[in-house]
């Protein structure tokens, strides 16, 4: 099994720190810590506190303590399972689509490498919402949906409003997020290892499986996490391309916060979502890193 150059760790010995360097470290770390505290920990704490509260008279939040919100969150788990399935499917599809593309750009593009990177980045300059709306036309009755419907002679054939439309939108929107980490690891990979493997008689597939794949694994992991986590909370694509028929946690949360105005229940569901994602990611990281002989969990 191939090992990378960082495979064998040596416990680093640290020089004793002076007080001044300790103070300096604290000062340097302060901005980031404050940022995390105020913009991450505090809002999270508010959401958790809210999840135990009661609904206000006109909607919103009223102080109180009840576990009813969690009870009702667990009563209807369908949005969670639908989200999990969609997130998995979306991540795997992105992976399958991104790997060949990243491989091509990193190894075969030659002088046009930067051009391809630019082409991948340019769509980000347009609002994501607008691009999603564009898919309404592409997949709609005046576009692909109508074309296929006419071809198979079924006038009520429809792509929009089905899980397929949502998947297409998801892969389109999240593909660059998956391509870039994979591309970066492929770029950095030492190409001579591949040559050596071929010299030693390994075929193309064995080389890929035993040399390339383990090296780019951190990139695959990062890309998957970058896609999976936002995908769990996705709302726009199912609402627009799925016509709201594909009902995910994101849709549920919007419904509760913006229409039913039942913030405590929405908060409870949000907390459940966060817990599900935490568990999934921890499990995924453990699974992906258990083959590596390092103590460090690498996320690029």
């Amino acid at each position: 099994m191939a090992t990378t150059s960082e495979a064998v760790p040596v416990r680093p010995t640290r020089p004793p720190r002076s007080f001044r360097s300790g103070a300096l470290t604290t000062l340097l770390v302060l901005p980031a810590s404050l940022w995390y505290l105020i913009l991450l920990v505090l809002p999270l704490a508010i959401v958790v506190v809210m999840s135990f509260g009661l609904q206000g008279k006109f909607g919103g939040y009223a102080p109180g303590f009840t576990l009813d919100n969690y009870a009702s969150a667990f009563e209807r788990l369908t949005p969670f399972t639908t989200s999990l399935i969609l997130a998995f499917a979306g991540t795997i599809l992105c992976l399958l689509a991104a790997l060949p593309m990243a491989y091509f750009i990193a190894t075969r593009a030659g002088s046009r490498k930067s051009l391809f990177i630019v082409l991948l980045v340019v769509p980000f300059w347009t609002s994501f919402l607008i691009r999603t709306y564009a898919w309404l036309t592409i997949l709609g009755p005046d576009g692909l949906g109508g074309f296929i419907g006419d071809a198979i002679g079924d006038s009520s054939f429809r792509i929009l409003g089905t899980p397929w439309a949502v998947l297409i939108g998801v892969v389109y929107g999240y593909l660059p997020l998956m391509i870039f980490p994979i591309y970066v690891t492929l770029e950095r990979m030492d190409r001579t290892l591949v040559e050596a493997s071929k010299d030693l008689g390994a075929g193309r597939w064995s080389t890929f499986r035993q040399i390339t794949l383990p090296i780019i694994l951190p990139g695959l992991i990062t890309g998957s996490i970058l896609v999976f986590i936002p995908l769990m909370g996705e709302y726009v694509i199912p609402a627009i391309l799925g016509y709201g028929r594909v009902f995910l946690v994101g849709n549920q949360l919007v419904l509760q916060f913006l229409e039913s105005r039942n913030w405590p229940e929405g908060a409870a569901r949000a907390v459940v979502l966060i817990l599900i994602m935490l568990v999934s990611i921890i499990f995924y990281l453990w699974f992906a890193n258990r083959g590596r002989k390092t103590r460090e969990v690498s996320v690029i």
């Binding site: 005046d142 429809r158 016509y243 709201g244 549920q252 419904l255 509760q256 913006l258 229409e259 105005r261």
Partner: protein
């Protein structure tokens, strides 16, 4: 470019000092990119500031009380509106901007009253000047301090509102809102496909399985509850748990057959036949009747009853541009402008003075200007936002759309 070439290029670039020309060129490029991004289509569409020829009926109109009486008032250069989608005629918006020198007119949208209320409850004070909630939401907005009393001396055209729309339960003193328009919620059909003689909400529910996947419903809890409650013969404002449970049964039976809940684009879906049956308003539907391709479209007021709703203009608390808001209210109530609003939005006006300028064909259309005898049988909308059971049923309805 091989790895070594890339390496060398980067090394060379790192060693060359950045010249002033290079810096200016790079910042110019980033600045223009940022400028383009900011000017690009965003969530709020700002009406173009370049004045173009407005419709002749509104340009430079010196209609009665065209400008506010107090001349000392300086109209601000900006107006921020939070409204339903496509609810003000763009030509009227441009004419207003020209007439009062309002350079920036921001039009943000919401899809339902509940969404609007949630925005305000989340703390959106001072973010907009004017909004157009449905009348039954006005008391709640007033009680929670989201709106301010109208500055009526600066809106003299308010006197043009018909007395039939004044002193209503939602605003007995007429100090908090101005009627915008009124309408009904009914059944829209493409009779080319739906051959049955549909006349009631009851039939609507019964036919749902036959036209599964081709039914569109507006995304508004108040309107959605009208259908099952009226089909069962109850008041559409019912808070009775038993009646609401029966309504839930009908709604859950409907949910799997619904194509989408859509308050903005239901007319497009009807036009392309993606949907052939709908629980909708009249906006966008009536013009389909005039188009030969979709002339089979029909909007009907169900015989088992439906809702009579009214939308109102309110000035928001802490409005940053109150003078512009008053100028707009006064402007929109001038008869010619009102008439254009009615003809574009296809909802009935609350000001008879405007009827003189409305196309007689539209005046005679019973779907917009509902005849008095039918009007008498319609039920007004109450403030149902506090009934938790309704919210819970609607949530479940929305989550089951198109499934199973």
């Amino acid at each position: 470019m091989t790895d070594q070439d890339l390496d060398q290029t980067i090394r060379r670039m790192a060693q060359t000092p950045l010249s002033r020309r290079g810096f200016l060129w790079a910042s110019g490029l980033s600045a223009s990119a940022a400028f383009l991004a900011a000017c690009g289509p965003g969530a709020s569409s700002s009406a173009s500031t370049a004045p173009s020829a407005a419709a002749p009926s509104t340009e430079g109109s010196e209609a009665p009380s065209a400008s506010p009486s107090a001349e000392a008032v300086v109209v601000e250069k900006e107006l921020l509106m939070y409204n339903w989608g496509d609810y003000v005629d763009p030509d009227n918006m441009k004419a207003f901007q020209e007439q009062f020198g309002v350079e920036k007119f921001t039009y943000d949208t919401f899809a339902s009253n509940d969404e609007m209320m949630a925005k305000f409850q989340g703390g959106a004070k001072g973010q907009w000047d004017i909004s157009a909630p449905t009348a039954n939401f006005v008391p709640a907005m007033r009680d929670q301090g989201f709106i301010q009393k109208l500055d009526l001396p600066h809106v003299p055209n308010a006197s043009l509102i018909d007395s039939a729309f004044k002193k209503q339960w939602w605003d007995p003193t007429d100090e908090w809102q101005l009627p915008k328009d009124w309408g009904t919620t009914g059944i829209t059909l493409r009779t080319k496909v739906v051959k049955e003689d549909v006349k009631t909400w009851k039939q609507f529910f019964e036919l749902a399985p036959k036209y599964t996947g081709k039914i569109v419903v507006v995304d508004s809890p108040d309107d959605v509850f009208v259908a099952p409650l009226k089909a069962l013969g109850y008041s559409l404002n019912s808070a009775d748990p038993k009646e609401l449970e029966e309504a839930r049964g009908l709604l859950m039976g409907l949910a799997p057959h619904v194509l989408a809940l859509d308050s903005d684009q239901y007319n497009t879906k009807i036009a392309t036949e993606e949907a052939v049956m709908g629980l909708t308003w009249t906006g966008g539907i009536l013009e389909l009747r005039d188009d030969p391709k979709t002339a089979d479209t029909v909007y009907l007021i169900p015989e088992d009853g439906t809702v009579f709703w009214m939308d109102t203009w309110v000035v928001l608390a802490d409005a940053p541009h109150p003078n512009a808001a008053n100028a707009f209210l006064n402007f929109i109530l001038t008869p010619e402008v009102q008439a254009k609003e009615t003809m574009t939005n296809q909802y009935a006006t609350c000001s008879s003075a405007a009827k003189a300028f409305i196309d007689p064909k539209m005046l005679a259309d019973p779907a917009i200007f509902v005849p008095d005898d039918v009007l008498a049988k319609l039920e007004g909308q109450k403030d149902n936002s506090g009934i938790k059971q309704r919210a819970e049923i609607y949530e479940e309805f929305k989550s089951k759309i198109g499934q199973g």
